[in-house]
């Protein structure tokens, strides 16, 4: 009986010779991540446990990206607390100010997370790095404290679900639409405690940006991790970014899966998740007349240069409807600069957009784009729970950058094909 890629990566981080789903293991961590919301609790726990020195200053990433640029005094205090710890411990991967980007866009971009890694992060969207062929999973702050102290963490080896996606994706259909469609099929706990492994001919052609969007939302189906077998697209993405060795793993032909789900991508249209669950998914043609107040293009799901290029392609020579606030959030400083050099920022400004600094703020209802009572947003983010982007009586609709851009122009949820 063979192993899945998830099992192989987990096993490679232990001294075990054999591993099976359901087994409880202690595994070594390559990168442990925290942000300005979750790291303060982890640091307090670390100190409470008499922690003096982190296990490896090069294997911890502290990213101040949520309530930054500091939104108020208490968020500034949290950042100050982390900055002091990072300085005391000489943490290599500490990012803030003009160097910071949305963590799950920044870490792959800088080559800090690599194929074959075991990554834990006190942020649920840590699963994003599965796109690179890494095992990456979200944990809590106490888990982060334990990893910072010992370099290890406990895991239950998950069962794996296999998603075989074939067929040519129609125009305007992206990785975001694939993952929304999958969550719509299996539900927000459809992959609870499991690994979601994405394969098939559509996946083998899917660019890295699309894979990152898909792995990012594995948690929205309850999964422990999402994962892609690394290939030539992975090599192309990581070879000039990596500053340390990395390893490609792939599933054995006789690996065991709890379920296999086949999807024909050629039959899909752009997808929209209606309030208040990411599984409440419809094709955009069935959205009806849903008027919007805000369109947000950005986040760890869809704030990459490829996403901005698609949005710019649609917004060129158009203006956002007069009642729509269009907010574009390049996910990292590098992406921001790229967008500037490619002329995308000018297209966004001409379309009436506000260009935000890289931040998670608007996505989680922190700052930089909060919704009032009764307001509706279309967003390229990953969650549309009650109150996610502001007032408990506001609404969030999740979609791709193409749909968010077209909706901004038409003032209602719309397909780019309508323009």
């Amino acid at each position: 009986m063979g192993n899945t890629i998830t099992e192989k990566i987990l096993m490679a981080h232990t001294d075990l010779k054999k591993i099976t789903a359901g087994q409880l293991i202690n595994a070594k961590v390559d990168i442990a991540l925290g942000n300005d919301i979750t790291a303060p609790i982890a640091i307090k726990e670390f100190k409470k446990a008499q922690g003096k020195k982190v296990f490896d200053k090069d294997k911890i990433a502290l990213i101040l990206d949520h309530f930054t640029p500091n939104k108020d005094i208490s968020s500034a205090q949290q950042c100050k607390f982390i900055r002091k710890f990072a300085s005391e411990q000489q943490i290599t991967h500490f990012y803030e100010g003009g160097q910071v980007g949305v963590e799950h866009a920044l870490l792959p971009e800088l080559g800090i997370v690599l194929p074959g890694d075991l990554v834990i992060g006190a942020d649920s969207h840590t699963c994003t790095y599965g796109a690179l062929g890494a095992f990456a999973t979200g944990v809590g702050s106490t888990d982060l404290a334990a990893a910072m102290l010992t370099g290890e963490l406990w895991f239950k080896v998950p069962q794996s679900m296999k998603f075989v996606i074939n067929g040519k994706m129609p125009k305007w259909v992206s990785g975001k639409d694939l993952i929304l469609n999958i969550i719509g099929r299996i539900g927000v706990d459809g992959a609870l405690y499991q690994a979601m492994e994405f394969t098939g001919e559509t996946i083998s052609k899917l660019p890295m940006a699309g894979r990152l969007s898909m792995a990012n939302m594995a948690i929205e189906a309850g999964a422990k991790n999402g994962i892609f077998a690394p290939d030539a697209i992975t090599t192309q993405y990581v070879e000039n970014r990596a500053k340390r060795p990395y390893k490609f793993y792939c599933s054995d032909a006789d690996a065991v899966y709890s379920d296999t789900i086949e999807i024909d991508a050629s039959k899909l249209e752009p997808q929209v998740a209606f309030p208040h669950l990411p599984s409440n998914v419809k094709g955009v043609s069935k959205a009806g007349n849903v008027k919007i107040d805000q369109s947000l293009i950005g986040s760890c799901t869809n704030g990459r240069i490829e996403d901005l290029r698609i949005a710019a392609q649609i917004l060129k020579n158009h203006k956002a409807a007069s009642h729509v606030r269009l907010i574009v959030v390049p996910a990292t400083p590098f992406i921001y600069k790229q967008a500037l050099q490619e002329g995308l920022l000018e297209i966004f400004l001409n379309a009436g957009a506000v260009i935000s600094p890289p931040s998670c703020g608007a996505c989680l209802g922190g700052h930089l784009g909060i919704l009032a009572e009764g307001e509706r947003a279309i967003a390229t983010t990953n969650r549309n729970f009650v109150g996610r982007m502001g007032h408990p009586k506001s609404e969030v609709y999740l979609a791709s950058p193409a749909v968010a851009a077209a909706s901004a122009v038409l003032g209602r949820i719309a397909s780019p094909a309508e323009l």
């Binding site: 409880l24 919301i37 979750t38 303060p40 609790i41 307090k44 726990e45 409470k48 446990a49 008499q50 949520h66 309530f67 939104k71 108020d72 208490s74 968020s75 949290q78 992060g121 006190a122 942020d123 649920s124 840590t126 979200g138 944990v139 809590g140 702050s141 106490t142 888990d143 404290a145 334990a146 102290l149 010992t150 406990w154 927000v188 706990d189 609870l192 405690y193 948690i219 309850g222 422990k224 669950l277 989680l364 209802g365 922190g366 969650r383 729970f385 009650v386 109150g387 996610r388 408990p392």
Partner: protein, 161 residues
């Protein structure tokens, strides 16, 4: 442990944004977080509940964000334990790691009405609904998780090792 308290019922997929909205995450102070416990699921919850009360959730309780502020807010509010049909993975880990007692029982949720009093006995693995003379079994806790509880959470477990 034995917990006796009134049950507050919530539905399926109660996410951590509903348990503690992100707008309050500029602090990690347990008492401040407790003031907003369950606010976006039931804005009046914190004024109605009493110390020792119990939360009963449906499927996938605690889904969404990994914020440990969610179990911290519940514990600091004085809730003695959470019982759900199922828990989201990160919430499940966090609760054991930081010491909020949680139990799985599919039957209880269907059988109980909000406001009824139950007795949870983690040693015998049962929940008693005295008014209806009914007893339900709690899903057994995996041995490793039992060890975490016995040691007083993950950090103390590591220290002991």
């Amino acid at each position: 442990m034995i917990a006796k308290g009134k049950v507050w019922k919530f539905g399926n997929n109660i996410d951590t944004d509903a348990i503690i909205p992100a707008r309050y995450l500029t602090t990690s102070d347990p008492q401040e977080l407790a003031c907003h416990c369950m606010e976006d699921a039931d804005p009046k919850f914190i004024t109605k509940m009493k110390t020792g009360d119990i939360i009963a959730g449906g499927e996938n309780f605690g889904c969404g964000s990994s914020r440990e502020h969610a179990p911290i807010a519940i514990k600091a509010a004085g809730i003695s334990c959470v019982i759900a049909k199922s828990f989201a993975r990160i919430f499940y880990r966090n609760a054991f790691n930081m010491g909020l007692p949680i139990f799985e029982s599919r039957e209880l949720f269907e059988a109980i009405k909000e406001g009824e009093e139950i007795i949870v006995d983690s040693v015998s693995g049962t929940i008693t609904l005295a008014s209806k003379n009914k007893t339900f079994n709690i899903n057994p806790i995996p041995p490793f998780m039992e060890q975490l509880i016995a040691d007083g959470g993950l950090m103390k477990h590591i220290a002991r090792k």
